[in-house]
Amino acid sequence: MNRRALLTASLLMPLLPRGALAAPEALKFRDLYVRGRQLTPRAAALAGQEVTMIGYMAPPLKPEIDFFVLTKLPMSTCPFCETEAQWPDDIVLALTDHPVRPVRYTDLIRATGIFETGFQTDPETGFISFLRLRGTRYEKL
């Protein structure tokens, strides 16, 4: 275990909720939506439960922040195809209980948290989210 992994583990271990010992449901990005923002029956049924998702951490907005955006593919601003950051449709806001320790946005991570659905606007940042993981802990794969 390298130093960063040790630090991450030491940060995360005390945060494990009691229910975490039961294996959380694995939820794939492609299983979120039927079409547009219509959730799949499975995704809708998992609201309020702990789930695990595999994806990428978009670069956090600023240091000392307690959320990040979990993306299906690395969040990139391609110099040859985009004039500005185009957020994909299927992103998940991952809220953490402590400041995020960023990982490189191309590193695959496993994020686990309580799955929430429905639009919500963050009062501090104005960030609008439709899907969230609350109390998120994460590990690099």
Binding site: R35, G36, K72, T77, C78, F80, Y105, D107
Partner: protein, 503 residues
Amino acid sequence: MKFQLRSLMAGASLLVLATAAVAQDNVLQAEDSYFTAAKAELARKIADQPNVGRAKNVVLFVVDGLSVPTITAARIYEGQSRGVDGESNVLSFEELLPYTALSKTYTHDSQVADSAPTATAIVSGVKSLNGTIGVTQQVKVEDCASQKGAEVTTLFELAETAGLSTGIISTARITHATPAATYAKVAGRDWEADKDLPEEAVRNGCKDIAAQLVDWPAGDGFEVVLGGGRGNFMLESQQDPEDETRTGARKDRDLIAEWKARHNDGAYVWNKQEFDAVDPAGTGKLLGLFNASHMQYEADREKDAGGEPSLAEMSVKAIDMLSKNENGYVLMIEGGRVDHAHHAGNAARALTDTVAVAEAVKAVYGKVDPAETLIILTADHSHVFSIAGYPARNNPILGIAGQGDDGKPYTTLGYMNGPGARLDEPRADLTGVDTTDLDFLQQALVPLGESETHAGDDVAIFAQGPWAHLFHGVVEQNLIYHVMEHATGLASRAALATSQAAK
């Protein structure tokens, strides 16, 4: 007389080839299935006659980033997806567009091209500078004032002047480089909406790409425009109809309203249901903008909120619209997102989008008279994508090819650079990883997290129809325009129409 002489010579060549073919029967492998299949192919090639008639129509497929390995991998992927042998599978365009050449894609200033000057080369016949559209190498990049005197005429403008119909289709934004090259003149390819114009461009009167599309002065304008990029035509004050969290990108001009006001016989659509309801017979012009930005990858299309037509469906509708003109038509069809999937380091989506293009070629071929329609398929540039190792025949193309010296498995498909590389860390162990998953990113050597890069190797040109046989050998990319113009005679026909209009 010259033609007769050529025919005689061709006849003599046929005899020589036929004799050679008979002679091959004396070999020990004469009954081998590979041998007999290739012999049958030889017979087809001997029987092939070049078409030197005038092309009434031109259909130009540009598949953004379709490198030769992408064609090979897509061929195998498509076959394996149907449960047949992938390696010997044939994509529609490989079969239907038999004349081929290699295209040299370098630009006036770069070994490795971007999509802007390459599209200009294809539709206007000149090599130019990376980052610019519809202008010659005389321009300075991102310098509006330098555009004067550097603008080019496109094949689509000649077609409109000569009284043909025109259309552009793209799964990318319709203001993106490839389709934009048919109508726009900009020193900066990113000037897609007015908010993207730098102060110098505004001061010197340069217009953004979306505005140039709606204001295009050629003939009576495009009959068909289908693609993504709706945001570039909508005001910042307008909410997107498909996504309530998005608004338009423009500071000024509601371009969709302007387009509607100009074309009383036109139909504007933004979703699949509206698209399906368009009756080509009763519709003079069609504008379809199916996404605020790019349209969906083919693999994700069914999940689109508003619903999007496939590339094949858009192509068929376009030909139904354009073929009403007895003078003929020129149509560009861009498979715009093979490139984006490669930039993301995601081979699966690059391959599924390539297969969608193959389906569109098949659909188009079935709609047109191939004898009077020049159909071309090419790429603007390559990508750093390769097919590696010694995987066994019929190994899944998205699967594992072998094991590296580090004891870890490696995939058949991979990238020279891109998001699939780790930064200063050993590569990931793929043991137990499903590399055939749609979202899997192939490993890469050099970490370029934001985007895998284009490549400088040659790309293929496939063609059929009048003068398609001119595509042979290793050619400059800008030859493509010249073959299209020669096959149609559009430069002289446009000049004639202009002089008649002046009388």
